[in-house]
Structure formats: C-alpha cells, structure tokens
C-alpha cells in the first residue's frame, strides 16, 4: 500500500514527528521576556502553568495559566517559529487572574508563562511539552 509522508509519520508503535530535540528558548524569546519585564528579576513562585506532559495532538494543546493578583500574564511557546502565544491583561474588576486556551506546538519544546504580579514584580513558570506519536502502551 502507499503511504503519504504524513501517514507514515503516524505509524503506530513506530512513529514520530521529525523534531528530535526540544527546541531551546532562543534569543528572540529572551528579548520578548525582557520587553515584557523591563529586565526585572523573575521569581519562581506566583504563576501557575498547567499543560500536558505529552501532547495528544500538537495542533491543539490545552494550557491554563493562573496568577492571583496579576495584571498581565504572557505566554510563549519557545520553540515555535513565532514564539508569542498570547498576553492576557486583567483589569481591576477581574474576578480571577486565570486564562485557558489551546495552542499549536511545532514540536517538543518549553511553554513559558510570565506574570506581572500585583506588587509590580514578575514570576516565571515553564513546562516541557513533548510532541510525539509513538510508543505502544502495555
């Protein structure tokens, strides 16, 4: 039988996307972060990022960010050709400072969330999301 390249990529138990290594956060990502924070230090606590460890479908990966009291949260997909995903701004009347959306990931990479907190400081959270098809569960 004939397989197109796309089909061949999804052969069960023996399949993979073409991206072998996690995409590294590149200089562009650093610039974007600096632009958002003005170069301020980033704390580890204060923003929560929820994302799957392995994406079921790299074309639509559900993510959620939450940072109590924050005025803005920026989300970056460090390995995408265009890393900026979204910046959520929360006004003073926002009931909660949380957002969820679905994003497209070009391959295994880090998803990064940066929050501007109520006191003007910044917090960062990141998670590696693996984009793969393959493996055969026991």
């Amino acid at each position: 039988m004939e397989f197109t390249r796309r089909e061949t990529l999804a052969l069960g138990g023996a399949a993979a996307l073409t991206f072998l290594l996690p995409f590294r956060a590149n200089a562009a990502v650093e610039d974007l972060v600096n632009e958002f924070t003005g170069g301020a230090d980033l704390a580890d606590a204060g923003v929560e990022l929820t994302a799957p460890e392995i994406a079921e479908n790299g074309n639509t990966v559900p993510i959620e960010v939450s940072a109590p009291g924050a005025s803005a949260i920026m989300v970056l997909a460090a390995g995408n050709p265009t890393p900026p995903v979204a910046t959520f701004n929360f006004g003073p009347l926002a009931a909660s400072q949380a957002a969820s959306t679905r994003i497209r990931l070009a391959g295994t990479q880090d998803v990064i969330a940066i929050a501007k907190l109520a006191d003007g400081s910044f917090a960062r959270s990141a998670k590696t999301v693996k984009v793969t098809i393959g493996g055969c569960g026991g």
């Binding site: 397989f3 069960g12 138990g13 559900p62 055969c136 026991g138």
Partner: protein, 554 residues
C-alpha cells in the same frame, strides 16, 4: 535443548499437577491473617485471559533516572536475592525469570479466571465486604474477546462482581462500544483523568471517584485511566476523549473526597509503576495506589511518603490482597499478599468455569485448531525482543517480503514452553487487537532512526511522567546499539541491515513491514493471519537467540 525432550516425553497432564501439588497447597496460597478493618482485592491487566496460561516474567527491565536499579527494574537472580526467594521455589517460578521452561513443567500453568474466582471468594469468606477493584486492560487480548467485542470478558467479570474499574485498551473497542458496555456495568467505571476532548471537562460517563462504606470506614476509590491512550493507541477510535496524568486534578479530587469525609483514599491506577511512584510523591493524601499497566508483580508494596503502591502483575497470574487498619481517618497499618494463581493447585470455581466455557463454546473449534509446534520457549516480556516477537517479525519479513519488520512493544501475551502445540488461540493471545492490519511501506534509514529514537524516549526518558509504559519497538532484519543514558536523538547508533551486514544508509529507502499502526485507514492482512500462515509453513518453530540489539548503560 534438553528440556524440550523431557516435555515431549512426559506431556503436561498429571505429571505437572502432581509436582505442583507436592510443593504447594491451596491453603498455603490463601493463608492470610485477617488484619485491620478493610480489605482490598486487586486484579489488573488480565488482557482477556480466561484460561490458565504460562507467563514468563522479564529478564530485561531497565530503570532510568531515579528508578535505576529500583523495583520493578530488578529481574531474575537479582530479584530473588532482593526478596530472599529460593532458586527453584514456587516464588522463583511465579515472580522472576530464569530456568522458566523446566520450572513451568514442575509448577504448571498460572491464572484462569475460575481460579481467580476461588481466591476472591475465599477472601470474601474472611471479609465479606472486601472491595474488588479491576485496574483495566480487561476487555482486550484474545480471540473470543475480539470476536465478542469484549462481551466475553464483561460477562465473566460480572460473575466476579467487582466494585470499580478503570481503563486502557478497553477504548480500542471504539468509544461507541465502550459507552454501550459502560452504561450497563453493574459497578463504577472510574477515571479522574478521562476528559471530554472538545470541552476539556471531566467526561460524564466516567466519574472521578466512588464512595464505599466498608467495615465502618468511609472509603473513596479514585480512578486513574492510562494517561497516554490517544498517543499509544489510535486516537481516531475514541476522538471524544482526552486523558493525561492531570496530577493537579488528582490532588483536587483527593482534597474533595477528604472534605466529604473519606477516611481512606484508594487510587485505582493504570499509570504504570514509575508514574505512580512519581504521582505519589506529588499528590498528598492517597493511602493506597493499586498500580497497573506496566505488568509488574511485586511481593511487597513500595512506600512513597505515606502512600503504599501495590503492583499485581498481569494476564490473570496474580491477585493482591491488601488489608488496612483505618483509624480516625488515618491508615495505621497494612498487611499485603501477592497471591500467585497456580492453576493446578487452586481448585477452579465451578460456577465461573461454566461461565467461561459458555463464552468460549461458540468458538471452540477455531480456538483449539493446532497450527504448529514450538521447540523453543516463546515469550514476550522484556524491554527488547522476546522470542514471540522474533517469530512475529520473521513472519512479517517472509510473508510480506520486507527488509525490516517492526512489531509493537506491548507487554501482554502469554508464553508457550518447548514441546507445546501452537493453537490459533495462542497466536491471537499475542496479536489480538482492533487495529491489527499488517502494513507494508518504505521508510528511509533516517526515518527509521527517528522512529527508534522516539520510541526509546517513551521508555527511557528519565522523567517517568514522559514515559508511556510498554517496551521498545521490536525489530526484525535490523540490528542497533542503544545507550539508554543518552537524551533523545543520541541513544541509537550502529543501525545495521542484518541481511547483508551493511550499515543503514540514512538516505536509502527500505521496505518495512509492521502492524498495530495508530493511523486510520491502514491497509494489509491481519497480523494473526500473517503469523498463522508463517507457522503453518514452518510446522515446527525454533527461535534462535537474538543478539541484534546491543544495550549500553543499563
């Protein structure tokens, strides 16, 4: 192979039964000083094995990262030394690899749901309100299960009266069929991580947890289905559902049931053992994780923080009994026994035997048809090739005229010992699935490496949350070297086409035959037909040692 001559002469009947009975009694297997106020009974990963079988445990099960050298990544003589098990003892045979073919003659077959029923009934005689929990992978893995779309297993398990269940391979029956069965189940179908794919909300059909009041204790059982179903199995068969580990939701569910007064929290999990260990270190408040998926059988629970993790093997070979002492919402102590189901020692439960026979009756002639014989031990379990896999890959190479064969690294499938007939049922036991089409295609050398690297990372990623369970994809006609300590993209080297000993050329095309594609619309003959045709031609099967994979860093 001296052992095969001995078997050929003596057969498998009364001789093995006598030997097993001299070494063991049913009373010994069931002996248990009832403890505390709650009893849990755990069965998991039965893979539709209703009848007694042989099942060889792995000799290669490599742990990486923090789990290097930790159970269940200890095998053979090392495993026996760790647990103080005598060589040649019943526990050696049941729990570890080594000397399998000769011990199989002495101790006979294992499992059989009618023997499991006897054990469950005996525990219920001790503790009438014991909870029976099924960890899933129940409605998959046999000729009769395939042809009845799981109904044989549903009928038989209903006879055991479980209290709750979680899922994995069940979903490969297709979401419509799963819904049809689940809607009629007389027990809870649980999964806190089964979500509606469109809305990313908990799926209505699968509640996260169920409360039970047993021994005066309020117990919450939380289900955890296999997290990576849409990746390891064909997503198009159950597009309505999304899974994932979702440990933050697990914590929320534990907090919720504790707030509702749960004095004991049990997680019925199909995560796989290393994922369960990590989850137990992240989520607080779970007393017991009943662990499935990776088919490990451990004679003692593993303790992580204040959570005990119980692993109960596969293919109907074991039943775990866990007694708990719950006082004022705290687990004060536990007593545990992994009960091996020696089928010649445990008297079958007559009612269950009749129920099983009833399921098999319409298919009896097809099941029992002898296709060939084996002179070699045929087994699957292990991180790399097992002899069953080698035989399947040989079948693909010769029947599909391919350079290279790929066979999925699943962990189910009973063993056959030297001298045994190979029946159609035996072939289905190691191949049956709803997407068994054997494809034939071309792949470049470069793409083959990508494939091997990708699957290797699903097993050897040092973070268990990125592992999917299962083993390395099995290969025929191809040799390679793997360094399990390296990151993805650097593990595989020295790929060689075995036919001519030449290095695999990244830019060259190779004809590849394989099966179990997760891709919709895959075409080809069913793998069981391919294997049957191959064995028929061979008549008697001999599988030589396979040294085509060199493992480094184990």
């Amino acid at each position: 192979m001296a052992a095969s001559a001995l078997v050929g002469a003596s057969g498998f009947g009364n001789w093995s039964r006598l030997a097993a009975q001299q070494a063991l009694t049913q009373d010994q297997l069931l002996q248990f000083d009832t403890f505390g106020n709650v009893s849990l009974i755990h069965v998991t990963d039965i893979h539709a094995q209703l009848k007694p079988i042989y099942f060889r445990e792995p000799s290669v099960n490599i742990g990486v990262g923090d789990n290097r050298g930790a159970v269940p990544h200890v095998t053979g003589a090392d495993f026996r030394k760790l647990y103080g098990i005598d060589d040649g003892s019943p526990s050696h045979y049941a729990l570890s690899s080594g000397d399998f073919s000769s011990l199989a003659q002495a101790y006979g077959r294992v499992g059989g749901l009618d023997r499991v029923a006897t054990v469950v009934n005996a525990i219920r005689a001790d503790r009438p309100d014991a909870l029976l929990l099924d960890g899933g992978d129940t409605w998959h893995g046999s000729y009769t299960c395939y042809h009845t779309e799981g109904q044989d297993m549903v009928n038989a398990m209903n006879g055991l009266k479980p209290d709750a269940m979680t899922f994995h391979w069940e979903f490969t029956l297709g979401s419509d069929r799963v819904a049809e069965i689940v809607e009629g189940l007389p027990f809870a179908a649980l999964g806190q991580n089964i979500f509606d794919a469109e809305w990313d909300e908990p799926a209505e059909l699968f509640p996260p947890y169920q409360f039970f009041e047993r021994g005066g204790v309020k117990i919450a059982v939380i289900g955890q289905a296999f997290p990576y179903m849409p990746i390891a199995n064909p997503r198009w068969m159950f597009p309505e559902y999304s899974f994932g580990i979702r440990d933050e939701n697990m914590q929320a569910m534990v907090d919720e049931v504790r707030a509702q007064g749960a004095e004991c929290v049990v997680c019925l999990s199909h995560n796989g053992f290393d994922v369960d260990k990590k989850m137990a270190s992240v989520v607080t408040g779970i007393d017991v994780i009943l662990s499935g998926h990776t088919h490990d059988a451990l004679p003692e629970p593993v303790l992580v923080g204040e959570t005990i993790i119980v692993a109960s093997g596969s293919n109907g070979k074991f039943v775990s009994r866990v007694d708990l002492d719950i006082q004022n919402g705290r687990m004060m102590g536990f007593r545990h026994k992994l009960i091996p189901i020696f089928s010649d020692v445990i008297t079958p439960d007559a009612e269950m035997t009749a129920l099983i026979d009833e399921q098999r009756a319409p298919f009896k002639a097809d099941l029992e048809e002898v296709i060939g014989q084996t002179e070699s031990l045929l087994y699957r379990r292990g991180n790399f090739n097992g002899s069953w896999d080698d035989l399947i890959c040989d079948a693909l190479l010769s029947e599909r005229e391919a350079d290279i064969a790929l066979s999925p690294g699943v962990r189910w499938g009973p063993s056959l010992i030297p001298g045994q007939d190979i029946t159609r049922e035996d072939i289905w036991n190691v191949t049956s699935m709803t997407y068994g089409e054997a494809y034939r295609t071309e792949m470049t050398g470069e793409f083959l490496k990508v494939v091997l690297e990708d699957v290797a990372d699903n097993i050897f990623n040092p973070d268990p949350y990125y592992q999917q369970g299962g083993d390395m994809v099995r290969v025929g006609g191809l040799g390679y070297r793997i360094d399990v300590t390296k990151p993805q993209g650097e593990r595989i080297s020295e790929m060689t086409l075995l036919r001519n000993g030449e290095a695999i050329d990244p830019s060259k095309n190779y004809v590849v035959a394989g099966w179990a594609s997760v891709n919709e619309g895959t075409e080809g003959p069913q793998i069981w037909d391919v294997v049957e045709a191959h064995i028929k031609k061979l008549g008697t099967v001999t599988v030589n040692d396979n040294n085509s994979v060199t493992v480094v860093g184990a």
